[in-house]
Symmetry: none
Subunit: 251 residues, 2 copies
Amino acid sequence: MLTRTPRGLPRKNSLQAQGVTLWRCIADDFEQLILLGKYENGERLPAELDVAGRYGVNRHTVRRAMAELAVRGLVYTERGSGTFVKTDKLDYPIRRRTRFSEIVAASGHEAEGRLQRHRVEPASPEIAERLKIEPGKNAVRLEIVRTADRVPISVSTTWFAADRFGDVAKIFRRHRSITRTLAHYGISDYRRQWTRITATFADAVDAGRLRLSVQRPILVVESLDVTSEDVPVLTTRGRFAADRAALIVES
Amino acid sequence: MLTRTPRGLPRKNSLQAQGVTLWRCIADDFEQLILLGKYENGERLPAELDVAGRYGVNRHTVRRAMAELAVRGLVYTERGSGTFVKTDKLDYPIRRRTRFSEIVAASGHEAEGRLQRHRVEPASPEIAERLKIEPGKNAVRLEIVRTADRVPISVSTTWFAADRFGDVAKIFRRHRSITRTLAHYGISDYRRQWTRITATFADAVDAGRLRLSVQRPILVVESLDVTSEDVPVLTTRGRFAADRAALIVES
DNA sequence: CAGGATTTGTTCGTATGTATA
DNA sequence: TTATACATACGAACAAATCCT
């Protein structure tokens, strides 16, 4: 329970930093409890009035805290039923054979990849080096949004060398799968050579595409895929909603 | 430019929160600019006197801000030349043999691991399952901060089964390395079985330990290490400053 | 190469606000 | 309340390294 001054202002204590609002304290408390596993996935949180009583605050304050947790992707509420913990994420293994559709299908969900935009542009030095083409030569750039059960999981920007894959956008739109698109070019197998993972925030564009609030954490996954003869085929910069997916490395 | 009272005290303004020091405001400003890419890697920042003039502060104050940015690992200074942006990240490969000290040493930096706190506690269901011990049996929990060239890279919470590794904290404090600590227990080799990567924000505690501003992105790396006979040895929840490290998966 | 301009590093000194015993 | 220590901030001067004409 939080101690409060006679005027109702929160007083400093060990858990509560100066200037932090009550609802944020409550939200942070529950986030800790959820992340520490005190509440399991799918479990119902105590009723709003219960929580309000325990903290000695108004029910509206608890509702504000729960709204914050919903924004953080940790809970969802069902009217008349309660607020439930939602912490399961799609496990996304990073392997030699990394195929979005196979991964999602294997975990029992329905995968979809939609080409949003595409463009032919001169390759940046970075992209040229990865694809082993000369800097300034053309590359085809695809922007793909991937969903599992219609929930957006990632947006990816993928580059191909334009001289070999000039009409890759058209082919992809027909097949809706990188694997089948490459098969069309006679590449029956390809493998992930390296993957580089870091994290940032969602910018406005990505947040919109991922149906995510801005400033939510994003896993940035850069990667290079090559043929079985180690010839670079495509390189990708994927942005995964960290609230909805976890990357798994087995070794 | 910051307005100041006649007595030389900083006055509140839009950029400056209450009770925040001048040098911290300037440091945070530049951190934002750097992280937003307004200054590229290797680019020179304006001269100290320039910045001092623009903010209307003494050169010492700017120097204090730059020192902070250097501590955060975002810039370095060269006498007579200037202050330069340094945003390349430490490449942290995730492999079967994943050893912090070896990784950092291989990239030419000085690694250090400091045990901050430790505790014996009943294992949560999650931890018990990973370590293959019975839920509720004791586990030793270590909180370790790891640095490269004294720049904090990660904070890790590591659990060991207490029955076998009861005094692991003492041993670790002596050896300052997980590898050497396990050697003390007769475990000459161990390997990473799986790694699970997701992302969030730094909370106040982690931000403090990582000398990072709060709300910066954090890579959350959970993992299990086993002996060569696949016996679980330790499990870890690491929080990496995403601004300072990128995880690499080669396959 | 010379030499002046620029830029960071260092050391004095002064004053004020904050935290602690 | 007082005394002490510490952090913040400003000012001036000079040293040392680098850059540029």
